[in-house]
């Protein structure tokens, strides 16, 4: 079964199209990356799938179910999102416990707190963090909370919007390892947006390279690591990263 199926997806901001006719599909349990420079429209696709932007035409199917942009059914139990900035994505006046319980409350799931403790240990946070406020934690710890929140109601698809780019390099590796571990344990499908090719190759099976709102190339991880990308722009992007690593 396909987890995500996009056909001819065109997305606009205030009637200006920014993504032109994107097509790709992601299999259930697969991990797929959208890579490109800023402004290439990769986050826009994520927003359209999640429902934060409803100004799009074309077709989005999630697990075989068609999504209507204007009249969407609640897909929150199927898919959840982890945002880029862990400093902005957690409510500043709520404790970790309240933040994690909110999704359960919204979906009317009764729980005596075991799910919260379970998720805290799954994301590698000690239970003494349970009643802290976000400002009493570091960026990496906040991002762990955000990941825990996204997984509270056991979604099948996780949308990751540059989940590590706002973090320190040492913390980035921890979060990436955590995401890899969680995907294996909970059999998740990932759609990752990143401008960082090494991150994509670490976490994903396939990737789509985007430029100026269009998908230039879809390739597998092997193709990328062996340097067998076909499109000129993809190699350019790869070259930039090679230079950065060499310097």
């Amino acid at each position: 079964m396909t987890a995500i199926d996009l056909k001819d997806l065109t997305i606009s901001y205030s009637s200006v199209p920014v993504v032109h006719g994107a097509n790709f599909s992601v299999a259930d349990g697969e991990s797929f990356a959208l890579v490109g420079e800023s402004g290439s429209g990769k986050s826009t696709i994520l927003k359209a799938i999640s429902g934060l932007n409803d100004e799009w035409t074309g077709e989005i199917k999630l697990f075989g179910e068609k999504i209507d942009p204007k009249n969407r059914t609640d897909i929150s139990r199927i898919t959840q999102m982890v945002f880029q900035d862990p400093y902005g994505s957690l409510h500043p006046r709520k404790t970790v416990d309240t933040i994690l319980n909110e999704p359960l409350a919204i979906h009317g799931i009764k729980d005596d707190g075991t799910r919260v403790l379970e998720m805290l240990s799954a994301v590698g946070l000690d239970k003494r963090y349970r009643f802290r406020y976000p400002h009493q934690m570091s960026g990496g710890q906040r991002q762990r909370v955000a990941i825990a929140r996204a997984l509270m109601i056991k979604p099948k698809l996780l949308l990751l919007d540059e989940p590590t780019s706002a973090l320190d390099v040492s913390v980035q590796a921890e979060i990436l390892n955590l995401l890899k571990k969680l995907r294996k344990e909970q059999n998740l499908t990932f759609l990752l947006v990143t401008h960082d090719l090494p991150v994509a190759s670490f976490l994903c099976d396939r990737l789509a390279v985007m430029k100026g709102g269009e998908i230039v190339e879809i390739a597998s991880r092997e193709q990328m690591t062996k340097g067998e990308l076909k499109a000129e722009y993809s190699n350019e992007l790869l070259g930039v990263h090679a230079q950065k690593l060499g310097a």
């Binding site: 929150s76 945002f83 880029q84 409510h91 006046r93 404790t95 999704p103 963090y129 406020y133």
Partner: protein, 301 residues
């Protein structure tokens, strides 16, 4: 469980209650470090205590007349002198604190929630909802508060209840404006997006996630406004549209004292003094609360 400052200030509270208590304790410590706010707090607490224990504090009845002792200057028997009907002004000021406190609390309890909720709705939904609600608040804001309160009291009939209603009607639009402005600043924030993606309804988002963020600036604003509310109530009382005789309302007392202001200054001055002290108390406290509740200060120790 031992209540100690270590328990309150711990970095890793074990229960929800401890986390809340810790937050309150940190605010209390911040308040203690602000002498002006403490002055305000002392005045406000004194106002509450005086009105609660008025019958025990006041040496005379607030309405008992004693025509032989009219217009006496301040003395040991009558700390603030007596008025034109021989009533002890100190006792009247003490009992008047009850009216003042009642007016302030009722106006705040009516107008703050109304303004807060309307403002949050307006800011969160935007579009024509926003235009409509803000249009109404603009109409209210375009008229001076006291004049509008006067018009409402004149329409409703004089009396303290109507004065309260009239002041509440004039007070809510300012709160709606603030709540809307605050809501707009984080309507597009990622934590609101995150809640949306969890499937929360707009009402749940407004009441559980938006309003808690507006309340601190609202508390500050209401505290600062209380001085204005007291003055408006006193103004209505002075004009004879608020509390009616023989109620010892401070504004009405000044109004009666106006006739003797040159020869018997204490009749008007004493209640005026009470109004100034209490208004300043609320202003100081509001200023202090603003420093403490400002989200920008949070996290800094």
């Amino acid at each position: 469980m031992k209540l100690s400052s270590e328990w309150l200030l711990t970095d890793s509270p074990e229960t929800k209650g401890q986390a809340l208590a810790g937050r309150a304790w940190r605010m209390w410590l911040a308040l203690l470090g602000n002498p002006l706010a403490i002055t305000g707090l002392v005045i406000v607490v004194a106002l509450v205590l005086v009105s609660a224990f008025a019958p025990w504090i006041a040496p005379y009845s607030p309405i008992g007349q004693d025509l032989e002792n009219r217009l006496l200057p301040p003395s040991w028997a009558h700390w603030m002198g007596t008025d034109e009907l021989g009533r002890d002004i100190f006792s009247r000021v003490v009992y008047g604190s009850r009216l003042t406190l009642m007016i302030v609390l009722l106006v705040a309890a009516i107008s703050a929630p109304v303004g807060l909720i309307l403002g949050a709705i307006s800011g969160y939904f935007g579009g024509w909802v926003d235009k409509f609600i803000m249009g109404v608040t603009d109409i209210f804001l375009s008229m001076p508060k006291l004049i509008m309160a006067l018009a409402f009291v004149a329409a409703l009939g004089p009396g303290i209840e109507n004065a309260i209603i009239a002041i509440a009607i004039t007070a809510w639009p300012a709160y709606a404006r603030i709540a809307r402005a605050e809501t707009l600043t984080f309507r597009k924030a990622e934590f609101i997006d995150a809640i949306k993606l969890q499937g929360a309804s707009p009402w749940r988002i407004i009441f559980n996630h938006v309003l808690p963020l507006c309340t601190s600036s609202m508390i500050v604003r209401v505290t600062l406004d209380m001085a204005g509310i007291i003055l408006t109530a006193a103004g209505l009382g002075f004009l004879g549209l608020g509390a009616q005789p023989p109620l010892p309302e401070w504004g009405a007392m000044i109004s009666r004292g106006r006739n003797f202001i040159l020869d018997q200054w204490w009749v008007a001055t004493m209640p005026g003094f009470a109004i100034i002290v209490v208004s300043l108390g609320f202003c100081f406290l509001g200023d202090g609360l603003r420093d403490i509740l400002d989200p920008k200060n949070e996290g800094k120790s």
